[in-house]
Symmetry: C2
Subunit: 462 residues, 2 copies
Amino acid sequence: MLTLDSQAALPLVTQIVQGLGRQIDEAALREGTKLPSIRQFAQSHQVSVFTVVEAYDRLVAQGYLVSRPHSGFFVRRRAAAGAAEPVPASPQGFDSAWYLRRIFENRHLAVKAGCGWLPGDWLFEDGLRRGLRALAADDADLGGYGDPKGYPPLRQAICEALAEQQVTVPPAQVLLTQGSSQALDLCVRRLVRAGDTVLVDDPGYANLLFSLRFQGARLLGVPRTPQGYDLAALEALVTEHRPKVFFTQPRLQSPTGSAAPLGQLHRLLQLAEKHDLTIVENDIYVELDPEPRPSLASLDQLTRVIYIGSYSKTISPNIRVGFLAAHPDLLEDLAQLKMISGLTSAEFGERLALSALLDGRRRKHLKSLRERLAEAHQRVGGRLVALGFELFAEPKAGMFLWARHPRLPDAPALANRAAEADIMLGPGHLFRAELQPTDWMRFNVAFSGDERLFAFLARELE
Amino acid sequence: MLTLDSQAALPLVTQIVQGLGRQIDEAALREGTKLPSIRQFAQSHQVSVFTVVEAYDRLVAQGYLVSRPHSGFFVRRRAAAGAAEPVPASPQGFDSAWYLRRIFENRHLAVKAGCGWLPGDWLFEDGLRRGLRALAADDADLGGYGDPKGYPPLRQAICEALAEQQVTVPPAQVLLTQGSSQALDLCVRRLVRAGDTVLVDDPGYANLLFSLRFQGARLLGVPRTPQGYDLAALEALVTEHRPKVFFTQPRLQSPTGSAAPLGQLHRLLQLAEKHDLTIVENDIYVELDPEPRPSLASLDQLTRVIYIGSYSKTISPNIRVGFLAAHPDLLEDLAQLKMISGLTSAEFGERLALSALLDGRRRKHLKSLRERLAEAHQRVGGRLVALGFELFAEPKAGMFLWARHPRLPDAPALANRAAEADIMLGPGHLFRAELQPTDWMRFNVAFSGDERLFAFLARELE
């Protein structure tokens, strides 16, 4: 029995993790001992089941406990003090097509220099917690399936945000989705058939590339330049291959960080018009952009552009709320496809997203998030340059730095060695349509300030 | 300015709806008047934004307010006292292939006799609210994407529930999904290619039929009988057409309510073995079943059966939590497809589902839910028989009654007349693979106790 203090500064979860961990280290709890069930522990210690679930979960991750089907949690043989959960990725995993599983499985590595998300404490967790408390205190109806297109007041709020970005669209043309990933996947399923030729950014967004490959699309990469698009290459591809769709991210693009200027956006839309190309614009980093840059949708007003947004980078990915806005004809089809692939989206998360959007402290949070990213760009970029890295693009905003080093040409091998040193890197081939080799790598500035990263890179360069 | 009383028995939302409604009825608030923004109203009346959102939303639904993009909420011209939101469905809508949109758009009809969900107050809303409060009070990490397969402690709990139902499976073989709909759609995308022949229940689950049609499958219906399957017909179809997959719901099937006995399940698995057929078993009504009937998965132990479950009928559809359990090889593919189509599922909802599962009052709730359904079966079945309806199947359990009347052969026309009387019916062709005509109709016993339904049917039979 542990003594817990609900008034202590140390969270209850941490008290339980440390307390049980100590008992196991000291063999007061011996290998094979069965722990009380979650409910028993919660009752006997007067804490919530969530607290116990979280604590047991962390102890499993730390290798103290093992969870056995149908029987419960048991004390595990301790390998060594502080041993972390074994990383299930084999080194060659980085070459596997199952990149997504890989990055998520590697999320337990200590230094997440290559990952695609933000640290929890950079997000709007305070606002989310306030929303959660308000929702818990409220008498909102929690029993229904919700609206097929998503929670109407959130769609209204999104329209208001889009109006500020010069995109005029009514709520009926906004569809809420399970993050931007579902929005992209719905577009893939609606617009692409097996054998179709599709344009993508090269390099581009890995999850989208997998969705397109699964659908049987033939992928053609439009080269990214430090200034945005290679328009001559784009025009040649469009003329020769007559693609139907271009999936692109003009702003603060992942992985390159580059942003296309107004003139390029206009020219791209002219080409699209001439060759009857539909454009799916992934603009999930708009709120991280320190400049009021236009989007393709703000020029085209959803005639041939489908616009995709997300709150995973500014509120939290945990609520899984993204959206798309499209021409009415297309939107009804996409809404139907959304229903086929999971009926409605969770109104719960949508209510929380709305409360965060309406939270008076959100603008301040966004401002400080952008400042924090700018500082991280300065710091991480400076350290990489000092080590001899070449950086790809201005502006120094958003989450990513695309960089390479003349003496580190084999990025996948480097990433494998890094994983052994508990560091997750983002070798560039993972972001390419055919996984073509490249010496470029993606650094997430929010996770790349860690000294262990620079020590590792310095050792590699010795 | 309204005077609100947070201590009153009447919920704040209702106070606002009634107060503003009265002011509009009495023209104290005139047509075209702009209302305060949600945030302004919340601040000036010292209530949460959720309360205001909910109230405005209901006033829009009731026709008192209209929401204009980019500008806010305005008082609408009142058509007549108590006018409801106009039903956007045209009468011929019931013949449209867009059935799903239709049933969701028709969810505002007063009497939902044909719908596929349970009333909010039949669900475990209390437990959900307790979980929400615990989660709000907790210091759980809300910042991450969560585990690709879903929240590990919930997967553990699901394994324990499955063990009670004689299905032995480790958490690694359980994938959490956005309701059973996503689970079915993932199976369709993984197992079916355009042109493939697939077996389905006839009649069966409409959303699945649409997903299969979208994938380009050739659908063959296996006739349901009052006692389960027509095994002779099944064997003939399997022998002649060599289908790859059978999507089926053995227990308390929607729409017929029938349940297949043990002997049939065994024989079905023998046929599957002989003809190398994969079976996707939709068992979402298991917790509504008063009898401890076996599932296909409990016989087969996930060798060639994929098992699908959901908490939409017993906790709430709003959290969008379902799951599938499958053979390890297949499961990894399905997990990868889940990531392609929306990355992770929302851990939020999964934490709430777990808290409901661990809630001490849940078993009692399930018991009373089953009793309530049994009583509704007695009552609704009795009334229909008294009017001259024929009922399809025993057992009288689960949500649905499948019924027809010799003097009401045109179910779609009847459904259209019912919609004009504010009643939503479920004409049987919507549940058939090729929308073949039928005089059968689906009644949801939880919504069919309404006198307006019986009055309407009596008028039709005069």
